[in-house]
């Protein structure tokens, strides 16, 4: 592999806070030099006017592999990731079959290595068949490479089971990502509970549902010493509960999807099912609170929440339509648009997509340092463009950003020292 040198880019490394013009040399898949570098024998990329940062780590990607390859494979998801500046993605276990066993996990990792241009990691199922009854082999799956454990979109209602899961997993220091939803309170809901949804005649899930589950899970994490990630925080109520738990020194962290930072319930408009998400889009005050949570570091991680859905699942009456949106290609641009609007701090945004997920998941990437893996992106923070869903690389095109103006785009994506996406040639 020919060495690569990137010259004159504004290099941002959220781990160290480095934010200055610098050159970088990449050789044998690693960053070998950082500062003023030797360009001997290297392919030179002009980074002038561009930002160079660690590649994004998206720790919540649903694909259709295995079982629903018509929606998305690891290959198409990987191509979408590369185009969106995501160099590592963690795929969720809610596939068909469900990834609740070492051999399935190994098979999926193998497929990711063979077909995807970006790094593919796997999350293991927390309970067998995601049925919330019996725990999976958390120890053996951790050893096989599962980065965390999730029950998919289904919260575990049984508090005693959740206690045992957090307790058992603590012996392996395994991370449990759990949806903050009270399943009884949110039963049958398809939108946020508010005056808006009630006027539309849609059954709503109150923010209290999220708050109750954050509080329960925080109490169980405190009791057991388990590591908990609140998966997809969506409300100010939930964030308040999270902050309280963090004040008590509980090992708790949280993620938020890019959609919940950019959109609110008004984007449903006249029953636009492409804006039907799970958790539902909530009020503008919730969105503002979540942005503040990223800016002050209370929320640790931003994810795409990538969830490919075919038109057949989306073109249905609102309550019957599937929830979910693709996000791998939108993540960076949507965030940069918020940065340009001065709603989001650039460093806080990148922190939540690089060093924070890397630390939570124990990955060596997500940082710019000599010896670190050369998973890097070069992007133009100002380039305006209009999102056309049909142009997405992803196997599915369901996005609420269709037709929206965005600002900021990936220019080059490098994974393991190899260029996997290059917009300069296009």
């Amino acid at each position: 592999m020919t060495p690569i040198v990137i010259l004159g880019a504004r290099v941002i490394d959220p781990e160290t806070g480095h934010d200055d013009i610098a050159d970088i040399r990449i050789e044998h898949g690693h960053i070998t030099d950082f500062g003023n570098v030797d360009i001997d024998g290297a392919d030179v990329i002009d980074g002038g006017g561009l930002i160079l940062s660690p590649g994004l780590i998206d720790m919540r990607v649903v694909t259709g592999e295995p079982g629903a390859e018509h929606k998305e494979t690891l290959m198409t998801a990987g191509q979408a990731a590369a185009a969106g500046g995501v160099t590592s993605m963690v795929v969720m276990p809610q596939t068909e079959p469900i990834i609740d066993d070492m051999s399935l996990l190994a098979h999926l990792q193998e497929s990711g290595r063979e077909t995807s241009p970006v790094n593919v990691y796997c999350a293991g199922a927390l309970t067998k068949g995601l049925k919330s009854e019996a725990m999976t082999e958390i120890g053996l799956m951790s050893e096989a490479g599962a980065l965390f454990f999730s029950n998919g979109e289904t919260p575990i209602a049984d508090s005693r089971l959740m206690r045992r899961l957090l307790s058992y997993s603590s012996a392996f220091n395994a991370l449990i990502a759990h949806r903050a939803v009270d399943p009884y309170l949110s039963n049958g809901a398809c939108a946020h509970e508010s005056d808006f949804s009630s006027r539309l005649g849609l059954t709503g899930a109150p923010s209290a549902s999220e708050r109750i589950m954050v509080q329960r899970d925080a109490a169980l994490a405190e009791l057991t010493g388990g590591r908990l990630l609140v998966d997809l925080l969506s409300s100010e109520d939930g964030l308040t509960a999270l902050r309280r738990a963090k004040d008590r020194d509980i090992d708790i962290s949280a993620s938020v999807s890019i959609h919940h930072l950019c959109l609110n319930e008004m984007d449903i408009g006249a029953y636009r099912t492409f804006a039907k998400l799970d958790p539902p889009l909530r009020e503008e005050s919730d969105r503002q609170a979540l942005l503040a949570g990223i800016n002050d570091g209370s929320i640790d991680v931003i994810v795409s929440g990538h969830d490919p859905r075919g038109a057949g699942e989306k073109r249905l009456p609102f309550d019957q339509a599937a929830a979910g949106a693709v996000g791998l290609e939108i993540l960076l641009a949507a965030g940069l648009t918020l940065v340009a609007d001065e709603q989001l701090d650039l460093i806080a945004f990148l922190t939540a997509l690089t060093i924070n997920p890397a630390t939570l998941l124990g990955l060596k990437s997500g940082r710019i340092a000599e010896g670190a893996p050369a998973d890097l992106i070069l992007f133009d923070a100002h380039k305006p463009w209009v999102c056309d869903a049909d142009d997405l690389v992803s196997g599915s095109k369901n996005t609420p950003f269709d037709g929206r103006r965005l600002q900021g785009k990936t220019v080059v994506t490098i994974v393991g020292g190899k260029i996997v996406f290059d917009a300069r040639s296009a």
């Binding site: 309970t127 067998k128 009854e133 019996a134 725990m135 999976t136 082999e137 958390i138 120890g139 053996l140 089971l161 045992r164 307790s167 058992y168 603590s170 012996a171 009791l223 057991t224 010493g225």
Partner: protein
């Protein structure tokens, strides 16, 4: 029976917590005497021992029966399934009924913690706890200590300062609770090893060190005491599978190598081979005390029956 002028004075044997170090020494000393070959004095001749087992048991019940008979007692096994208990009689009514038949020794196993303590208040004979719920199994702890004492004496050592790891399902184990108390009393350094779901949340307050992996927990241990994992705990509620349990907590040669060289292995039985212990470890006479535990069981229970038959139990309250 006295030691330095102190005589054993407990009316019942309900819990190791009721005993002090001298009581234990007295019992172990007598147990060691009964460890030798017979014939034995028929010290219980004319006395009646009732085995009252509310939970099924083979080895403990048989062990008590043989112990009683070797000392000349009349031993009656009450099969609870066929008794009035099955017809709805309460524990205290059963106690009053049995007491009216004037037994001398009552050996009781019950599924509820503390049942024997309640029963002992209503009878005028000695009550011996043969296991109550997840609370205590004091005769097992005493026979384990006797087994160790005899085995260590052959090597010129004793229990003081010994490092012992108790491994497995501590949460549901009455054997572990009795052993922790007894071994702590004897000056051992006790460790508990198991998955967090099978160790009580506050176990670190028992005067033990708690570990969740065998490599750290077994380091420099002289004795490894494995506990039985009940099948119904393996189906996902406490641990994911037999496979994962054996991988991380099952005792095989590889894990035993973390302990001291020549570390001894114990198991209260019955064993699940391939779940908590591998056969080559369990069956190695150089390191496994498992068969000797059964042998010591009879001697220890003879000593316990002997000692308690000499006590005055007073009138029931």
């Amino acid at each position: 029976m006295t030691l330095d002028g102190y005589a054993f004075s407990r009316p019942h044997l309900l819990s190791i917590r009721d005993l002090n170090r001298v009581d234990v020494e007295l019992l172990l000393e007598l147990g060691e005497r009964y460890h030798g070959p017979g014939p034995y004095d028929q010290i219980l001749a004319g006395k009646t021992l009732i085995n009252l087992f509310f939970e099924k048991s083979t080895r403990t019940q048989t062990s008590f029966e043989i112990s009683g008979k070797r000392l000349g007692a009349d031993v009656i096994n009450m099969a609870v399934e066929n008794s009035s208990v099955a017809k709805g009689e309460t524990l205290l009514d059963t106690a009053a009924t049995l007491n009216a038949m004037r037994p001398d020794l009552l050996v009781v196993r019950h599924g509820s913690s503390g049942a024997q303590a309640l029963l002992s208040q209503k009878v005028s004979c000695a009550v011996i706890n043969a296991g109550d719920g997840a609370h205590e199994h004091p005769t097992q702890a005493l026979l384990d200590a006797l087994t160790l004492r005899v085995a260590l004496r052959e090597q010129g050592r004793d229990l003081t300062g010994l490092r012992i790891a108790i491994c497995g399902d501590i949460l549901h184990s009455r054997v572990a609770r009795s052993n922790v108390k007894l071994l702590n009393m004897m000056g051992c350094d006790v460790r508990l090893i198991g998955p967090p779901t099978l160790i009580p949340a506050d176990a670190y307050r028992w005067g033990v060190d708690v570990f969740h992996n065998m490599e750290d927990g077994l380091r420099e241990c002289d004795v490894v005491m494995m506990l039985r994992l009940q099948m119904e705990r393996m189906s996902g509620a406490f641990i994911p599978s037999k496979r994962e349990y054996f991988h991380y907590y099952g005792l095989n040669r590889e894990k035993l190598a973390y302990a001291n060289e020549a570390a001894l292995v114990m198991h209260p039985g019955p064993m699940n081979r391939g779940v908590e212990i591998s056969s080559d470890v369990a069956d190695d006479p150089q390191i496994s005390l498992i068969t000797r535990q059964v042998e010591s069981g009879v001697a220890m229970r003879m000593a316990i029956l002997h000692t308690l038959s000499q006590q005055d139990q007073g009138a029931p309250s």
